[in-house]
Symmetry: C2
Subunit: 246 residues, 2 copies
DNA sequence: TTTTTTGGTTGACGTGGGTCAACGGGCGTG
DNA sequence: CACGCCCGTTGACCCACGTCAACCAAAAAA
């Protein structure tokens, strides 16, 4: 765990300048004076309980959200009931960018655990981007990173086999936990097998079997949501040399 | 076909204010005075011959591109040779947004036919976004739309069967041709079966078979790259009621 | 605590789409 | 205009993953 963040009363300013997520979040790379301006931008914080939604598809778009604590999934659903998890988000990551284009959200953002977000009113962000040099660039980078990430998921869904997908998923989670000061080898997944499956374009049974096979092969150790990567290099190798893939 | 665009010498300004793609492209929704400022932004034009690349993964990021004529595909590739087409782009659409995040491109943009793009230097765009009210918002919307589009592709790759994917692809192409003043019922695809397959996460044989089955069922008429949608409603129905899908 | 519900694992079996191969027609190149 | 290559089509076969079902553990509710 990291040093704890100074606690402010819910609804008060969040003080980006004092937040330890600064290097993962929107303010990354901004100067001290810019950071101070940014404190004006982040209005309130909002708590979202496990299983509750931060926003839903169709909600009018008003703000984007920076995750301060906890984690989320985003999913889109078709009329016929099918749904697709489009991403899992961790602390410091930005939610709600999909809403800008049509001024309403196109997916649901649901908390995987009790969580808290910083609310960034979009019109204020627009305004301040005109004034604060580094903010505009940083915001563009955040959006661009989302596009690049999505391309990675397409690659995964379009051209990898089940085990490769799961290996890529685990390595990605590991790297992100690590960037947040947690162990890269051992972590606790917050999503179910079904949610992982939806994200990876697989059924939960296939995900479960792949977990078991990885364990049998000594690559990982799993117990429910608790995962240990015993041989990360082995997992990487699995992705690179396709066994005769599509 | 639409009325032709006033021809300027290659390398001269492109004059957004006189371009008939205005309602599809970056300048959408901007005022006349803003449009005039925009003309400064678009420096040169660049021609790209069929099969040649506009940029490649790893190239330093300097500009984004608006397609003035022709069409492109973007693809990412893995070390082991596998590749994934992440999108097909038509006139008025913006290419290169992936490059902002890491200041270098992460995919290849390849012309599907002899094409021409407007080069928009990114540093100038940043600069002008500070000054021109509508430009910043419009640019954010373009990026956001790309994110939403990518989520749609994930949905397609993650939870649709082969025929549903192809139907969705055809309807999407139809709608985009239509928005550009071409027929929604009859059009000429510029990409190969293999490229369609890569985009849809299928093998070219599967794409070919799905085309044939659609033809047998009277939904479309295909001959090579020439496609006619005989029953668009039938195609839509196909997507909504999964036949027992994953 | 007990009960209930939800999430995860595993087995048996079926099938959609991948693989391999043959063939034919269009189109770009010379 | 003719050659050759690439592209698209189709068939036969196979396998990875989906489906269906039973069962168990963990967590939540009572």
């Amino acid at each position: 765990m990291r040093a704890s963040v100074p606690i402010t009363v819910n609804g008060l300013k969040s003080a980006c300048s004092q937040c330890n997520l600064v290097e993962l979040c929107l303010p990354f790379g901004m100067s001290d004076s810019e950071l101070n301006r940014l404190d004006e931008l982040v209005g309130a914080r909002r708590k979202v309980k496990r299983q509750q939604s931060l926003y839903r598809a169709g909600d009018p778009f008003e703000a984007i959200y920076a995750i301060r604590a906890g984690s989320f999934k985003t999913d889109v659903l078709l009329e016929d009931g099918r749904d697709q998890v489009t991403g899992f988000q961790m602390t410091g990551e930005i939610l709600g960018l999909d809403g800008i284009s049509a001024e309403s959200h196109t997916c649901n953002a649901i908390a995987l655990e009790d969580s808290e977000v910083c609310v960034i009113a979009y019109d204020k962000l627009e305004q301040m981007s005109h004034e604060v040099e580094g903010l505009q660039l940083q915001f563009h980078k955040v959006m661009s990173r989302e596009i690049v990430r999505d391309h990675g998921v397409m690659m995964l869904l379009g051209s990898m086999r089940a085990e490769e997908r799961l290996a890529a998923f685990l390595l990605n989670m590991s790297q992100r936990f690590n960037a947040r000061g947690f162990s890269a080898q051992e972590f606790h997944l917050r999503m179910t097998r079904e949610e992982i499956g939806s994200y990876l374009g697989l059924k939960l049974e296939t995900v479960s079997r792949a977990f078991s096979r990885f364990q049998d092969e000594g690559l990982i150790s799993v117990q429910q949501k608790h995962v240990q990567l015993l041989d990360p290099t082995g997992l990487k190798r699995l992705i690179q040399h396709q066994h005769g893939a599509r």
